[in-house]
């Protein structure tokens, strides 16, 4: 299998790059890079829903932030073992997702968008009001630096490497899923849910599974962010987090799984640059969003990929056309003739 060999080589090259970066970058840039990787996992998990299943959610921060709080509370009250904490936080998030997804999937299209927004804001509201447990708008401070057995991940370099490992594993699993028969099934649902039912697929169940898988990875990312920041604040649950992730997916290229990584690079770096000069990051976010939808509706990754493929193809004869997703519609507008 030449395709899979290439993918493994690409993954290894990326691992080597991460190790080099962990030695070369200053602590400040390591923190920034860690943030990029965390948001990349978050955005990729969302791409499974937005780009592949055709379900544009505006409430994905619910999983991200919920897991953050679970991480903070678990680390403060039970154990600070990184593996245990992430495991527990992801498990709790998964259980929450069982209910959240069942409620959200009752609607389609714009109603789905609104429902996910409403549900996630309910969770945000709880975190905001329940001061005794969550610290309210002050957040949950003092999340200790993580520990794995005898190893303390106190310095930014080791935490960066751990996050990099999580990123590589998440990306590998998600890429495997979207290229599998199950992944094709999700894309079929994106294109036409009514045809999928007519072919014998239980559309709802597939969408539900996609949601749960997505929640697992969003949860893992949220857990990492809690450790990264040392504090869990309601911001992590807020609609702006959801919108940022959605922007990363659309900017990078929805339905590509690689694109959201580039989306995360661009958005996190821009956030860093913009917030040096002004506090109006959310305004900038809105402007970028409009620019992307108007100027690069396919996102930045697909054109990059096409360029590289064209370069590599010289002398190889006409190869099978690569299926390149067409422009993703703005979130909320689902494709297909649904009843």
């Amino acid at each position: 299998m030449r395709g899979s060999t290439k993918a493994i080589l690409g993954g290894l090259a990326f691992c080597v790059l991460l190790v080099i970066l962990s030695r070369a970058l200053s602590s400040y840039y390591l923190v920034l890079s860690t943030r990029i990787l965390i948001f990349a996992i978050f955005a990729m998990s969302l791409d499974l829903l937005v780009g592949y299943t055709g379900r544009s959610s505006l409430g994905h921060a619910a999983f991200f932030g919920f897991s953050g709080y679970a991480t903070g509370l678990f680390a403060l009250k039970v154990s600070n073992n990184l593996i245990l904490t992430i495991g527990a936080a992801v498990l709790v998030t998964f259980l929450m997702a069982l209910i959240f997804s069942a409620l959200a999937l009752r609607a389609r299209g714009v109603y789905f968008l609104m429902l996910t927004l409403a549900l996630s804001q309910v969770i945000w509201g709880i975190a905001f009001e329940w001061r005794a447990l969550t610290g309210g708008d002050d957040g949950l401070p003092g999340v200790p630096r993580p520990v794995i057995g005898p190893y303390h991940l106190t310095d930014s370099s080791s935490f960066f490497l751990f996050t990099g490992g999580m990123f590589v594993i998440s990306a590998a699993i998600l890429l495997l899923i979207v290229r599998s028969p199950f992944g094709l099934t999700l894309q079929g649902i994106r294109e036409s849910a009514s045809r999928m039912s007519a072919l014998g697929y239980n559309v709802w169940l597939h969408e539900y599974l996609a949601f749960l898988i997505s929640a697992i990875f969003a949860g893992a990312a949220g857990s990492l962010l809690a450790y990264q920041n040392g504090i869990v604040s309601p911001t992590q649950l807020f609609v702006v987090s959801s919108a940022e992730a959605l922007l990363m997916v659309i900017l990078g290229g929805a339905g590509t799984m690689i694109g959201p990584f580039f989306g995360s690079v661009v958005v996190v770096l821009l956030e860093y640059l913009v917030s040096q000069h002004t506090e109006r990051w959310v305004t900038a976010l809105g402007i970028i969003y409009i620019m992307v939808v108007v100027g690069a509706p396919r996102g930045i990754y697909p054109p990059m990929r096409d360029f590289v493929i064209r370069r590599l193809r010289r002398g190889k004869g006409p190869k099978a056309a690569v299926s390149v997703p067409l422009p993703e519609p703005a979130p909320g507008i689902t494709m297909g003739a649904d009843t």
Binding site: M1, G3, S4, L176, I177, R179, S180, P181, F182, G183, L184, T185, Q187, G188, E191, S192, S194, R195, M196, S197, A198, L199, G200, Y201, N202, V203, A320, A321, S323, P325, L326, M335, A337, T339
Partner: protein, 253 residues
Amino acid sequence: MAVSTPALSLERISKHFGALKAVEQVSMQIQQGERRAVIGPNGAGKTTLFHVVSGVLPPTAGAIHVFGNDVTRLPTHRRIRLGMARTFQITNLFRRLTVEHNVYLALQGLTPTKWQMFRPQGSVKELVQQADRLLEEWNLEDRRHALVTELSYGEQRALEIMLAVCQKPKLLLLDEPTAGLSPAETATAAETIRRLPRDISMLLIEHDMDVVFDLCDTMTVMHLGEVLATGDPASVRGNPQVQEIYLGEAIEA
């Protein structure tokens, strides 16, 4: 075989939208291997009836049996598992996927393969071989990597039928398979349908009378949601009421 259960049996099916009686007290039995056409002017309730039979819309009243199983309250995908398949009047394909992927989706719909998450699509050998054979049979092998949006309308209509047929259904619902096709393409499509295995029972909505007479054993005429006449094509054609609705308003007091 002893007296076999009908492939499809509708008992007094009604579908109302508020005050509108789209389908009213329709009863129909399609024997195994029978090819039945449903005709009628626009607004007769044919497509609504199709939606009720395939499970897209729940009936207001009545019962549906598929090969003797009561499916009245079953969702679409459960009916499909009983050997039913359908096509759509308005082409309903996976537009931004390749022809090959469309076929894979149809082939794996009724197999456990669709749940596999951790192996590449192309590594399921059996599926690939089946798809190869089908694409060759349907003269689409050189279009295999084309996106559906790149196909001609005629090719899309062919794929529409192919997706329904490749699961080897025992009961096939065809909703205007020749809609929008040129006369030449219509002839090709009709030929394709005629050559399908004789043991597939068929329910066909069609406007083209040549196609109907060519393909079907029996006909049901619907008008304003109700069944007007049922029988073999020749006798239905001779029915004065049928002539009336097709040839113009009767001279009524």
